[in-house]
């Protein structure tokens, strides 16, 4: 086993390790959500978090309503904090997996679908962690770590490709520029999508509550921000992502001009990148249109994300074109 092969093997081990840590983070975030907002008597409320954390509750002797709330707040923070810490740890392992993969081939690690997916998932986590430094989006944890885990699973089981050199068509610094920006942009779309879905669920709850029929299931939603704030969070993410996606489109066109002699040729990947751009442009316009509420524009954003998924999962593999670098089959 030579150096590059052993590095590639190390990368695989790191991917599995990071997945394990992601599972812990996922569980912690799920616990954080589920442990919140129970409208049950104080005693039961106190017992539950204790059981969940497993450590002694210091406030037990003191009792009192405010104490109970503090207790619960403590537990809530701990589960979420465990989630955040483990997510950072998973990101570290995941990042190391991406780097070793790149080093094993002596190049940037987006030469095929497996590497792109591995890298993309890492960027989703990285973007989420970065946003966490500035805003408390811990409530999104489950909905970010979950998709990342799913994506890694697909990457390993379906998309896995041996580490190797690049084909000549990909030997360009535009690969670094075009693909890395596309990855960051997609990562933001992923997180925005989670926020949009939660927004729709929350909006439905709010309608039911307003109608005097609060739903019995999904109580954890009560502790999430209201639909208006979720909508704003999604908008902010998309507002950052949209210019990045535009850049992806333009950088791709410049590269296409260098590599294929035309900057736009309606290659299936180009078509779908354009479709995604148009759908998110429609979303931004819908938000500014009178008579379009947050719900209707959220549907457009979700449609945009569906296009992102098609562009990633279907176009590379099933539509023949110039972007068929998947390396599968």
């Amino acid at each position: 086993m030579n150096m590059s092969e052993s590095l590639a093997a190390t990368s695989n081990v790191l991917v599995y390790s990071s997945m394990t840590v992601y599972v812990v983070a996922f569980a912690a975030f799920a616990l954080d959500l589920s442990g919140r907002g129970r409208t049950v008597p104080a005693v039961r409320r106190r017992a539950e978090p204790k059981a969940l954390v497993g450590a002694g509750a210091p406030s037990r002797a003191r009792g009192g309503t405010s104490e109970v709330q503090d207790d619960e707040a403590l537990v809530r923070r701990r589960a979420a904090a465990v989630g955040v810490t483990t997510t950072w740890l998973a990101l570290l392992l995941h990042g190391a997996a991406v780097v070793t993969r790149g080093v094993s081939a002596g190049r940037v690690p987006f030469g095929n679908m497996y590497e792109f997916t591995l890298m993309g998932a890492a960027v989703v986590t990285a973007v989420y962690c970065t946003v966490l430094l500035r805003r408390d989006l811990r409530y999104l944890g489950v909905f970010v770590v979950g998709p990342v885990l799913l994506t890694l699973g697909i990457a390993l089981s379906v998309l896995y490709t041996e580490s190797a050199q690049l084909v000549p068509a990909l030997q360009s610094y535009w690969l670094v520029i075009h693909v890395s920006v596309a990855t960051v942009s997609s990562a933001l779309f992923v997180i925005a999508f989670s926020a949009n879905v939660l927004q729709l669920v929350q909006e439905r709850r709010e309608r039911l509550v307003a109608a005097g029929r609060p739903p019995r299931r999904g109580r954890f939603m009560e502790r999430l921000p209201g639909s208006v704030e979720l909508e704003r969070a999604a908008y902010r993410l998309i507002a950052v992502s949209f210019p990045l996606w535009s850049f992806t489109l333009v950088a791709g066109a410049i590269w296409a001009e260098r590599a294929w002699g035309r900057y736009w040729g309606w290659d299936p990947k180009e078509v779908w990148t354009f479709v995604i751009w148009v759908v998110y442009a429609a979303y931004l316009h819908a938000r500014a249109t009178r008579g379009w509420d947050g719900r209707r524009s959220a549907y457009l954003a979700i449609a945009g994300f569906a296009c992102v998924l098609v562009n990633w999962g279907i176009v590379n593999i099933f539509f023949p074109g110039n972007h068929s670098y998947a390396g599968i089959g």
Binding site: T161, E162, A164, Q165, L166, V167, P168, A169, Q171, S172, W174, V228, E231, R232, Y235, A239, F242, P243, S246, F247, V250, A253, I254, W255, E257, R258, A259, W260, G261, R262, Y263, W264, G265, W266, D267, P268, V271, W272, F274, V275, V278, V279, A281, A282, L284, H285, A286, R287, A288, T289, R290, W292, G294, L300, C307, V315, F319, P320, G321, G327
Partner: protein, 596 residues
């Protein structure tokens, strides 16, 4: 019963509808949906051969798709209609806004509202020095506000000893937001025009060049030439390119990627009129610039040298003949057309070239793209090759055997040969000989003249070159970059108005109120107003109109003075993009609203 609109009224109504946001939104969604079929159904201008195959495989569906223009979606009338309507709508929306924005740029900032305490951010400070208005104006100008300083006559005789004059400063920033938005949309129009220019003024040519040969930039030399509508043969600037060598590299590590291409590099000599001949390199991502065109290395393959002599031993054909690769291991097929034997006696050979040949139960094929064990397989025909010299376009890679008969062996079996480089065979019926390589005397003469062996190589490679001239690409790039810059400005520029007014000038320092108003969402407004208040004052007296106690200077966290419950921000919707896309006539003047 609807009132009659009349012609002008109807036109105005239609125009209003077309330029409304709803229509734009609808057209955007339609554009996205309309673009999808082109990625599912093969397109004529992308892959014409795939369209032919698709038609054969879907005999029922294909005619319908044909009628709907699905094989050429992006040039179809309905797709064109969508984007043209969208652009008309865009122009109809953006032009009036541009006019309005032009006026706004040149007008003074709005007058200071009479009741500043009703604005969402409001502070009262004691000015720490002389001329708070002048200082406020300076600070705001540094922060790139447009500033209107209105001093009023001082009441009494306080003006001379450093006390503040009465008056106010009105400042606004964020015009860049709307300007960016307009630049973005107008750049999209520019981009569309650039694309149209590309379509009309560009040409694209393809040519196959064996190593050692070259091409000149003329329509006749090209294997395929696709000119734009406004391009004529005279527009091609003369230049010539000679291919000196073509280096290739394939993955040699045994595994899943064995035989994957790793590197292609063509070394060329370029002759341009008025310039000296120069040497250059073409690689996959590094085209050559010559004569207003870019020359791309689009493909490569093998051009086996085939030499045919007639019955008298005269060489009638001896040249590299490109065989086109059919798979990733370069199993290639090609055709040799020998005209020299005379009408009715022309010869045609068709067959395959295997760079690394394997012949087993699966049949002959290549297992590696580099030439490790090349084998040329041919069968032959005699007769009339058809319209080779009529000037009509014929596919040089296909043999029309309708007026030819197949060569056979003495036993009546079809004649076929498998040749390695240098091998020669006799053709049946005493027609002559066929050799894989140049004639031995040519090789010997070349070697004697000191030429490198590569010049008489029996299996040279060829480069598939694409020549592209596109005057629209630079404008397209410029407009794309402008559009992105405008987009970023329109999404991230906060729109704010800040006002400063001197309330009273009694005592040591003037009492000054500072207030801010944001249009759309603006998380940074409170900090901005705080920073200005700190810059002016010795201490903040009141954080808001509700009369909260003032915090000591600098002691409050940013945003701590946020006023609540006094006046809701006069924003209508949720969005940062609010108010930008509305029809100008329907926009409300915020300042007017504040004065009432």
């Amino acid at each position: 019963m609807q009132p009659r609109l009349g012609t002008v009224g109807t036109a105005r109504f239609v125009w209003r509808q077309l330029t409304s946001m709803r229509t734009a939104l609808f057209l955007l969604v339609l554009l996205a949906v309309g673009a999808v079929p082109g990625s599912v159904v093969p397109q004529l201008d992308v892959d014409a051969a795939a369209v032919v195959t698709y038609r054969e495989e879907h005999p029922v569906l294909a005619p319908w798709l044909e009628r709907l223009g699905f094989f050429d979606v992006y040039a179809s009338p309905w797709f064109s209609a969508i984007y043209l309507l969208l652009f008309v709508s865009l122009v109809g929306c953006v032009l009036p806004r541009s006019r309005q924005q032009w006026t706004a740029w040149r007008s003074r900032p709005p007058r200071t509202p009479s009741r500043l305490e009703r604005l969402p951010e409001h502070r009262v400070v004691v000015a720490a020095g002389a001329d708070p208005l002048g200082r406020a104006a300076a600070v705001l100008r540094r922060r790139r506000y447009r500033v209107d300083l209105r001093r009023e006559a001082t009441e009494g005789a306080g003006g001379s000893d450093g006390a503040a004059t009465r008056g106010s400063v009105a400042a606004e920033r964020g015009h860049l937001r709307e300007t960016g938005n307009l630049v973005f949309h107008l750049s999209l129009v520019g981009l569309l025009l650039a694309l149209a220019a590309s379509g009309l003024l560009s040409y694209r040519a393809q040519v196959i060049v064996p190593v050692g040969q070259g091409f000149s930039n003329t329509v006749a030399r090209y294997d395929r030439f696709d000119p734009g509508a406004w391009v004529s043969a005279a527009d091609l600037l003369p230049f010539a390119v000679t291919l000196d060598s073509l280096a290739v590299e394939f993955e040699e590590v045994v595994g899943g990627q064995l035989g994957e291409p790793r590197d292609f590099e063509a070394r060329v000599r370029v002759d341009e009129p008025g310039g000296r001949a120069r040497e250059d390199v073409i690689r996959v991502n590094e085209p050559l610039s010559a004569g207003g065109t870019e020359v791309y290395l689009a493909g490569n393959g093998y051009a086996p040298v085939v030499t045919v002599t007639d019955a008298q031993g005269v060489v009638v054909y001896s040249e590299p003949t490109p065989f086109l690769a059919q798979d990733s291991a370069y199993t290639s097929t090609g055709v040799v057309k020998v005209l020299g034997a005379g009408p009715g006696q022309q010869l045609g050979f068709t067959g395959g070239l295997l760079p690394t040949a394997v012949i087993d139960e699966e049949g002959p094929r290549s297992i590696f793209p580099d030439k490790r064990d090349p084998l040329l397989l041919l069968t032959g025909f005699r007769g009339d090759l058809g319209a080779v010299n009529d000037g009509l376009p014929v596919n040089v890679y296909e043999l029309d055997t309708t007026s030819m008969e197949q060569l056979t062996t003495g036993e009546g079996e079809p004649w076929s040969v498998a040749l390695r480089p240098g091998d020669a065979v006799d053709l049946p019926d005493g027609l002559g000989t066929l050799r894989f390589g140049y004639p031995p005397d040519v090789v010997a003469a070349s070697a004697a003249a000191g030429a490198p062996a590569s010049e008489t190589e029996p299996l040279p490679r060829f480069a598939g070159l694409t020549v592209q001239h596109d005057p629209g690409r630079i404008p397209a790039l410029v407009f794309s970059v402008l559009a992105m810059a405008g987009l970023v400005a329109s999404l991230f520029t906060p729109r704010r108005r800040v006002f400063v007014r001197v309330l009273s000038t009694e005592g040591g320092g003037a009492r000054v109120e500072v207030a801010g108003l944001a249009r759309g969402e603006d998380a940074g407004l409170a900090q901005e107003v705080d920073a200005l208040a700190r810059a002016l004052g010795a201490g903040v007296l009141a954080g808001s109109a509700s009369g909260r106690a003032g915090a000591p200077r600098g002691g409050a966290p940013p945003g701590g003075h946020r006023s609540r419950g006094v006046a809701e921000r006069p924003q209508r919707g949720r969005g940062d993009l609010d108010a930008q896309h509305e029809h100008p006539h329907r926009r409300r003047d915020l300042n007017q609203e504040l004065r009432t």
